[in-house]
């Protein structure tokens, strides 16, 4: 009966409605949209000039964050509010039962289970059901599994993980539970990073909502630069690549090997431009509000091996898994075999986190296969410094290492992008064996944008982001800096591809 009521509740609230209904409901406030262009300055001015006291400022952050999220679909605000409230209360209960470890454990496990259950219902319900039905079918049992057409809440994996980190950190005494419910709601829902990260830790972000923020000119300028660079990566690199990628992947059987390779390269840069672009805009926007978010990307395509790649790609998620799964499992402070098992687990979980599809799990397994040999040979921390430090160009060895790593990552992205494992395999086989000479018909323009991205990021690889030009050297002249801003802004606007959703919204 309870199960029935839960399903009825989900059905009434969250199932997909007719498309014409959704035409009005699904309006994302993308960072590269006119809506956000209007939203951001208004929020910025009200934040600094009207809501000056800390309490009011935090409350304002919560309200605008809920508006930002509700712009997409107001019904999911209930879900996010519920998750936030449960995590907040779990913190208070953990404090109340200080000294009673068993009760504290029970509280933590309950909250974690509840959060994961919500995540599973909305993200993995159909996946488990369909696979169960297939499994039963293979042993001769026919199960008439009804697929629930549940709409996946944008960014659910991001804010759920953020909420989980709070409970775990409180349980592990890394942070004291907060009594300020408004600050806690602001921590979970802070709009720049709400739907696609970086996945913040309570230890970093929550204390920032407890102290008065002061406006810093340098920080704000830095934030604007980062936003501008993020927009370039998203609108020029990712969106232009997306158009070619969609055309190639949708008709891959008719394409030659070079075209398929080109499609894979474009997707490799599409996902980087898209996700790191989003992160840059999120971090930059947060800086305008006096908040520092953690770094999420550190030029991952300049990695010399796969271990280095994973230290530079989606850092907030990787470190989340490290801290909350890998270490509790024993990390590397156990036998080699157990360390390998732990590594395999986090790669598989990481793949599964991305979505309810075997392609993501295979993608995780594929990266584990690349990573494990390095671990066994004790070479997984070989490259922790900046590549070609102090030099303009990499050495031949470094260049080959980067190229090989890039190719390995590229194969992984094909698995990630494909609709199913069969398609991924077929795509890779055709890409390698279908090597007939043919001039690719799908836009060469993205190559130019990728080239610009690579050159700029290579030259700036010791900085936080590509456009962090500072006030040194030639950039000490304001005119030069402004010319750079104009050039980047105008070219971003003029060269922008067709607006696409941010890929990581679906995770």
């Amino acid at each position: 009966m309870q199960g029935f009521i839960v399903l009825l509740f989900i059905n009434l609230l969250f199932l997909r409605r007719k498309p014409n209904f959704y035409f009005f409901i699904i309006i994302y406030m993308l960072f590269n949209s006119i809506e956000f262009l209007v939203f951001l300055p208004i929020v910025f001015l009200l934040y600094w000039f009207v809501f000056k006291p800390l309490k009011w400022q935090n409350l304002f952050v919560v309200v605008v964050s809920y508006i930002f999220y509700g712009w997409w679909d107001w019904r999911f605000l209930i879900l996010m509010g519920f998750t936030t409230l449960c995590s907040f209360l779990s913190g208070l209960f953990l404090e109340r039962y200080e000294g009673c470890r068993s009760k504290q454990k029970w509280i933590s496990v309950s909250n974690i289970t509840l959060n994961l259950l919500i995540l599973c219902i909305f993200k993995y319900c159909n996946f488990f059901g369909e696979n169960l039905a297939l499994l039963c079918q293979s042993v001769g049992w026919e199960i008439d599994w009804v697929t629930l057409d549940i709409l996946l809440p944008v960014g659910i994996s991001f804010y759920t993980f953020q909420a989980l980190s709070y409970t775990i950190d409180v349980y592990q005494h890394k942070i004291k539970p907060t009594h300020d419910i408004v600050a806690f709601f602001a921590f979970i829902s802070f709009f720049p990073q709400l739907v696609a990260g970086p996945i913040e830790r309570a230890t970093n972000l929550l204390p920032q909502f407890s102290v008065k923020r002061n406006f810093s000119y340098e920080k704000a300028v830095d934030g604007m630069q980062q936003i501008l660079w993020g927009l370039f990566k998203k609108m020029v690199v990712a969106d232009n690549c997306a158009m070619a990628v969609n055309a190639i992947f949708s008709d891959y059987q008719a394409m030659s090997g070079p075209e398929l390779l080109m499609g894979a390269i474009f997707f490799t840069f599409q996902i980087y431009g898209d996700f790191s672009g989003y992160s840059d805009i999120a971090i930059g926007t947060a800086r305008l509000f006096g908040i520092n978010l953690m770094r999420n990307f550190n030029y991952p395509y300049f990695s010399r091996d796969i271990a280095e790649f994973w230290r530079r790609w989606h850092i907030s998620l990787t470190t989340w898994f490290r801290d909350y799964i890998y270490f509790p499992l024993g990390g590397s402070r156990c036998s080699k075999l157990k360390t390998m098992r732990n590594t395999l687990v986090i790669f598989l979980v990481s793949g599964f986190w991305h979505g309810a599809n075997w392609t993501f799990i295979c993608w995780g397994a594929y990266h584990a296969l690349l990573f494990l040999p390095l671990l066994v040979l004790g070479m997984n921390r070989k490259y922790t410094d900046e590549v070609a430090k102090g030099r303009l160009l990499p050495s031949v060895k470094e260049f080959i290492q980067m190229l090989l790593t890039f190719f390995c990552v590229l194969i992984g992205w094909i698995i990630f992008r494909a609709e199913n494992i069969h398609q991924a395999w077929d795509y890779i086989v055709r890409m390698i064996t279908g090597f007939r000479f043919a001039l690719p018909a799908h836009g060469k323009d993205p190559f130019i944008y990728i080239g610009i991205l690579l050159v700029v990021e290579w030259l700036q690889r010791n900085k936080q982001f590509g456009l962090q030009i500072g006030t040194h050297g030639i950039f000490r002249y304001r005119t030069v800096r402004w010319v750079v801003y104009y050039v980047v802004f105008i070219s971003t606007f003029l060269l922008a591809g067709q607006q696409e959703e941010f890929i990581y919204f679906q995770f």
């Binding site: 006119i34 600094w48 406006f215 000119y217 704000a220 300028v221 604007m224 402004w482 801003y485 104009y486 802004f489 105008i490 606007f493 003029l494 060269l495 922008a496 067709q498």
Partner: protein, 317 residues
């Protein structure tokens, strides 16, 4: 804070001014849509015959070889939706209109105003023909909605000093003249035929097809109420293109036209799709006549046939 806001304001205002200036310059660039609107508005008191449709009519039907007071207001890539809106908008301003010649490109039955396909068409109709889709404020700005595309137009006219409009005084588009034809036009025919079949495959449930057939019915009804004769014309295509055309798709087009002509007594159909009288030099590409040769030849044939089928040759003059 003041310093930050000051610089952001200077940056934003300078960009807004730059954008406004560029938008103004873009509006001054001659283009066929604005020209055809101008044709309609300046001759509305005298128009007796009007040619509408897409590129096949734009280059293939030449008013100079038809009757007096005839103008070609067809536009390349025109969707039925816009043909309909154009007629709806102007029909009551054209008191002497007696004949509407609609040049139909067969794959137009599967085209419609999906912004993902062609925003430029929506934007250009909105700005230059006053035909609004009323769905996005951005469509009022060529620069903001078309971005790089609008800048290509800007540089073509202001930097490279190339013509951006090729229509003659009656509206025929001479960018389809033989001298503009690509060298590899024959080799491109197979892919052209294939691409135009793709639209039909993507039209699940024949939604677009049905909507477009209904649009023809609506125009036919509008003409019927005003005593206007409607000619649905399918101009010739190159023989190799004709061979590659999907037969099911062609059958659907023919069925649609038959459905309209059977229902409305003021509608005639004229099909030249596989007409063998046209040679290589009559074509600009697989499915377009050359405006300076094939278009003239075809118009003469069309004139004769219209006069025969409608039986009022004398009254046309």
């Amino acid at each position: 804070m003041k310093r930050f806001l000051k610089y952001v304001a200077i940056f934003a205002v300078s960009l807004i001014l730059l954008a406004a200036g560029t938008e103004y310059m873009l509006r001054q660039v001659p283009n066929s849509l604005a020209y055809k609107r101008h044709l309609l508005e300046t001759h509305k008191g005298e128009v007796k015959n009007l040619i509408i449709g897409s590129s096949v009519a734009n280059c293939g039907i030449n008013p100079a070889y038809l009757w007096g007071s005839t103008y070609n207001v067809a536009i390349s890539g025109e969707w039925f939706r816009f043909n309909q809106k154009l007629i709806n908008r102007y029909i009551d301003d054209l008191p002497h209109l007696k004949r509407l010649v609609w040049g139909i490109c067969f794959h137009s039955f599967w085209m419609d105003d999906n912004p993902d396909i062609d925003i430029s068409s929506i934007v250009n109709h909105n700005i230059y023909m006053g035909i609004s889709e009323g769905r996005n404020l951005l469509y009022d700005s060529e620069l903001l909605s078309l971005g790089a595309l609008s800048m290509r137009k800007w540089s073509k006219y202001y930097i490279r000093r190339k013509p951006t409009m090729h229509c003659d005084s009656l509206g025929v588009d001479h960018s389809y003249d033989l001298e503009c034809r690509k060298r590899e036009w024959l080799e491109e025919i197979p892919s052209m035929a294939y691409n135009q079949h793709k639209a039909m495959i993507e039209d699940k449930g024949k939604r677009l097809y049905r909507e477009n057939v209904n649009r023809i019915h609506e125009i036919a009804a509008l003409c019927h109420d005003r005593g206007i004769t409607l000619f649905l014309v399918m101009p010739p295509v190159h023989p190799s293109y004709f061979e590659l055309v999907n037969k099911e798709q062609l059958a659907m087009v023919r069925a649609a036209i038959k459905e309209v002509t059977e229902r409305w007594d003021n509608v005639y159909s004229m099909e030249y799709f596989g007409d063998p009288r046209f040679a290589d030099d009559d074509f600009y590409d697989g499915n377009h006549l050359s405006a300076d040769k094939g278009g003239i030849k075809f118009t003469k044939i069309l004139k004769h046939d219209i006069e025969v089928v409608s039986g009022f040759a004398e009254s046309l003059n």
